[in-house]
Amino acid sequence: MALRPDLAVIADNVASGAKVLDVGCGDGALLAALRDRRGCDARGMEIDAANVAECVARGLSVIQGDADKDLAFYPEASVDYAILSQTLQTTMRPDLVLEQLLRIGRRAFVSFPNFAHWKVRTSLLWTGRMPVTRLLPVAWYETPNIHHATVNDFRDMVRERGIKVEQAWFLRGDRRCSPAAASFRAEHAVFLLSR
């Protein structure tokens, strides 16, 4: 089964045999790929019970938990990579969650949808309505995404906090676009961060 494009980027860039914590791991697709293809010690946290049961049934170590509350129980620098894919925008305090990721992991992968993609901009500009797109398919009143951010917002936040961007990937569908064009053209961003 092919991984979602942002997960494929992460899977390709995690060192083999690394210890990994995937926060908001969903049904465990990335964890299973990291375990089976890269020999990683892959563990997860997921808020939805049905997803957790699915992960455990796949033989993965996953804790039912809430990124906003339960990351505090992980010891410092206990994994090589802490991963937050498509989850940042659903947390109550993305800034605090990011700090936790970099406390627990020596490095952190963060992926999120870019709210400044041109389709979003044109939707707001021409219809005056919150966009419903391929990546943001749910209407404003029922979306789990409560903290929309853009590529530039995220760049600002990590700069202000003295977090180092080791690498970044910008995706439209499964194709890449340049950092310069990312703000306008990227549907998705993946950052590799460290302190």
Partner: protein, 371 residues
Amino acid sequence: MATAPIIDPSKVLNLPQPLPLDSGRELEGVRIAYESYGTLNAARDNAIFVAHALTGDHHLASPHPKTGKPGWWVRMVGPGKPIDTNRFFVVCANVLGSCMGTTGPASIAPDGKPWGMRFPVITVRDMVRAHVALLDALGIEQLHAVVGGSMGGMQALSLAANFATRARAVLVIASTARHSAQNIAFHEVGRQAIMADPAWREGDYYSHGKGPEKGLSVARMAAHITYLSEAGLTEKFGRRLQDRAEKTFGFDADFQVESYLRYQGLSFTDRFDANAYLYITRAMDYFDLAEEHGGLLANAFAGSKARFCLVSFDTDWLYPTAESRNVAHALTAAGLPVSFVELSAPFGHDSFLLDVPALDRVVAGFLGEAQ
């Protein structure tokens, strides 16, 4: 029947050496009744130990030889089941202090009379010591997994903490790392009911033909309520009347729920010894894994390399989800691979014994994962 231990033709181990206890005492001549299913492989590494709950026994997946009742976990254990006896050698032993075949207060002491209240107070760790002695006798150095629900989960956690190398995986269902004030309170109600029954005779009722059946029955009724959920009781009984059209303005079992509880209480006295109930509930109340290890639960697992899985049920108010989450957090802090999930099921604490398909998937997935 509550007057003698139930002896059945199951497998028995007579411990040649005395069993040391947490109280500082030693117990000589311990007899352990157990059952096994499947085949131990040549490497002796495919064994799963299943620990039973308070009033359970070792007849896990086969009919009880005396009562003919099906094993208590047939839906989970057997060929092709989540705990697959085609693949695993599954062992279940009656706990120390019980009355289903293993030595307990109804057993005969060295002086030829039943132990009664002279039986030493035991702990969950003492039960686990007896299990480990059985594993030694069976030549099983390391289990593929130890599995338990409720008090069985406490034994699984205690084994992981105190005999860290004996299990590669630990599966704990609807359980806790310590008995709460509420847990102790309900048990104390049960014990007081037994001890308030004149037929209890300070525990020395074995020669009188009849034990404290009324007291034991009330103890079981109170405990049984804690195993169910409010919604489950409402759905099953509501306020419906028992075989009558109107209230009788008396104290008969007017309501179906009363009749049900009375039946549960009475039938329990046919199969369980009142003193065993006192001793085992005491052991559960004394259980506090953090306290055993300097007050910090994470320290209890410092020597462990096992994988863990904790499952709770959203309607279980006896050992609610917070208890399992607490253990999961401690294991996380100890750096161990742990899974934890709260499953949705309507049956309260008893959900672990009943039809919850998600539990089957979790159990099969967790145990099937090769180490």
